[in-house]
Subunit: 432 residues, 2 copies
């Protein structure tokens, strides 16, 4: 077996992950978003990252919105060669034929670098943009997601690897024996197929997931190539890691077939003091309005504006929208340390519940190594505080330190995202 | 008034428009489709074309399929600067929020070059990929299209032109007075909005349409910026042109607000004989199987395989799938000239019912000028026989001749597709 190698994704959120990112004096606020994101992707590619990663919502959440991930990723594909391109598409307000087709198309355009982050919509506001008065419930969302995933996988097998012949002489464009209709007829979807995009360079694009419930973890264990997850502490990441890897094995797969990549919010500088100053600069830019909005959303969609910001967090009823665990975590944190609303929102203004590291490149590399070597992570999804500076800091300061330690590649060995992740080429279900 | 200027689109269909295009010895069969299409778009841009244009279907029609237009156009946007980028998205098997968002995103990525070809799905096979046992009927398709268009236009007005402030100092990212929800509640769609992509550089992407029925023409007259249409003769193009322009005026718009661009299938060479040889080369590559499939599809989805290919066309029942006019045209042609099935399919193997010109650059420019100056066309959508050679021939031989005659631009005056087409920037409905 070759040496186990750390995986790194660049999670690019609008202006950066800190809630005040856009106010940072050096933040690019995205007047020309394509130029910004192409620069970021090239920066991550020079540092040999496995992929860039875009979250998504089909409704306006906060701020001014962004670009649609698939169109954006194609424009990035055109100016990069190696880095993987992971975009989010919800199974709740989409049709599997469209999703299968778009990612297959991106995979061909990027010559094998596409990844689909399969989500079940954590933003209830999406419902009203798709003819519904209420968000689809948690159980139904996952039932639909599971069938959606099956259909997409089936469509990606429409063409066998060697179906296309383009034999001009004998007028045979493809082998009809190697083109397959799907004829899926299930509870949520009926999809005939075949897909009208031929077999993509990775066989199938990579599938990423990010759900924490029992149902979410089981679906990931059965089907995902990568899991993106949020853990503030080593202990919680280890518990999740061991739990999920056991489920992967129970589902009949090898534990290495699924890579677990927690989010990491890093603030890095040459000295610890400078890193703290960098972080404080952003913290000082958080307005009560933005802080309260963020906290209200993360604690279960509550309007906290009526409460005094410098008083303790009020008692809140238990939310029923599938975010109970995060609500409990935040409530306990506030009660345990007797935090005011302001103090509490400042705790989450940066990392939003993800692993947070503020310090020197050595300190950050130490912690990454600790998690990587102690069954807590196969890699990390880097959530830069602001853009583009936050990502540049990480690639210039932390990546070389990880490379010196032999934890991270210094050049790409393969050309596809699948190869970067060390995952096998999938056999077509119809192949003889 | 400035001089009226010809508009040119490059209609890029998989391997080219001739049914045997892929078998042409110099045809690129698309092993690396991105490289091919980027080359074609750059070729068209050097010749100052208004736009590249991609048709679409969400089902496999013939051949081996292609790429999904929106992802493809984004990857083209990244390597071009001026040329417009028109992609097709059906209103029949899509949701307006997704479509509005993707084209707004493409418009931002391309800095104002996006166009949406709004179609109502002429391919009945799409239904089975979206949970339906039957294709949606013609009347309902158009009713849905009309409401779909309204919703998309409304979402594109979500943000007023000057809504985004990015005032870091005062922590004001946007003016909430200038962000608008839509709250559309209609027969086919309920969409709250706002769109989560901010106002695009063209105000709104360009809308293209291509329907020939009464309903189709009325919808275009009320809403389209460009109409793509198929006419084999000057007389039929003139009748269509005058009819549609009159409808535009009846709808309260100026006749120049809608540009009519028929398809043009050109085979060009330095001499007439060479052009004929070029055409014959492709004609000789048509297999009976491909010819019969094409003819069967165009004459109303009939299976013609049981009939002898060198006997006259059999009597066929009248089709009811909205293609009656084309069926009549082809049947009359066959009867009038007593054509066999083979002779008939060879008549449509290239231009498929569109304006077809085989000859010298001067001959082709003469005909273009004739149509342009005699109320038959505002421009043409160039349907190259095969790719990339067919488009290269047109840009190298015909475009300079059009430029010499002062009919076509020698450099771009503006930067957006809207400017190329000479269309006004749309006022936001909420602007005071
Ligand atoms: C780390 C993480 C990232 C997520 N990213 C998205 C996203 O980009 N878009 C989205 O609609 N949902 C996103 N989700 C929501 C999940 O898809 C899912 O709907 C939610 O977590 C509830 O499922 P669960 O109870 O299994 O966690 C994310 C969830 C997690 C934990
Ligand atoms: C020139 C032309 C191009 C068209 N392109 C497409 C296309 O790319 N995809 C599609 O689904 N339908 C396409 N259509 C079909 C139309 O959107 C419409 O469904 C069909 O023409 C029937 O409407 P009608 O009776 O108004 O012509 C096209 C039609 C015409 C005339």
């Amino acid at each position: 077996m070759t040496k186990r190698e750390l995986k790194l994704g660049a999670f690019l959120l609008h202006n950066g992950h800190h809630v005040a990112a856009w106010r940072h004096p050096q933040a690019d606020t995205g007047a020309d978003p394509l130029r910004l994101y192409q620069h970021l992707a090239k920066t991550a590619e020079r540092a040999c990252f496995d992929a860039v990663f875009f979250a998504d919502s089909v409704a306006l959440t906060s701020g001014v919105g962004g670009l649609e991930p698939l169109t954006l990723l194609s424009a990035i594909a055109a100016v990069t060669d190696r880095i993987g391109l992971i975009g989010t598409a919800t199974t709740t307000y989409n049709e599997p034929y469209h999703v299968a087709r778009k990612f297959a198309s991106l995979d061909r355009i990027s010559r094998g670098r596409a990844g689909w982050n399969l989500v079940t919509s954590d933003n209830a506001a999406e419902a009203a943009n798709f003819g519904r008065t209420e968000h689809v419930g948690h159980a139904e969302r996952y039932e639909r997601a599971k069938e959606f995933h099956q259909v997409v996988q089936g469509l990606w097998d429409s063409w066998e690897d060697d179906a296309i012949l383009n034999d001009k002489q004998n007028a045979i464009q493809f082998d009809p024996q190697k083109l397959h209709t799907l004829q899926h007829h299930g509870k949520h979807f009926s999809v005939a197929g075949p897909l009208n995009v031929s077999r993509s360079p990775q066989g199938k694009p990579i599938t990423v997931q990010a759900g924490g419930s029992e149902t979410g973890k089981n679906l990931a264990a059965e089907t995902a190539d990568v899991v993106f997850t949020a853990h503030p502490t080593l202990a919680s990441a280890q518990a999740f890691y061991q739990d999920l890897k056991a489920r992967v094995e129970k589902a009949g797969r090898h534990r290495d077939d699924l890579k677990i990549m927690p989010g990491l919010f890093p603030v890095v500088a040459k000295t610890q003091e400078e890193a703290q100053r960098k972080f404080q600069l952003l913290q000082d830019l958080v307005t009560p309005k933005d802080g309260i909005t963020l906290l209200g959303r993360m604690i279960g969609n509550f309007d906290l504006t009526p409460y005094p910001v410098d008083e303790p967090l009020p008692e809140l009823p238990l939310t029923d929208n599938g975010q109970q665990s995060r609500q409990k975590l935040l409530t306990q944190l506030a009660q345990g340390e007797n935090l005011t609303i302001r103090e509490l929102y400042l705790r989450i203004a940066g990392g939003r519940g993800h692993f947070t590291l503020i310090g020197t490149p050595e300190h950050i590399a130490d912690q990454i190594q600790l998690w990587f070597e102690n069954d807590a992570a196969d890699g990390f999804n880097i959530m830069s505080p602001y853009l583009p500076g936050g990502l540049e800091d990480f690639t210039e300061l932390v990546v070389p330190e990880l490379q010196r330690r032999g934890l991270f590649r210094t050049s790409y060995a393969g050309t596809t995202l699948r190869e970067h992740l060390g995952l096998a080429f999938p056999k077509n279900r119809y192949a003889k």
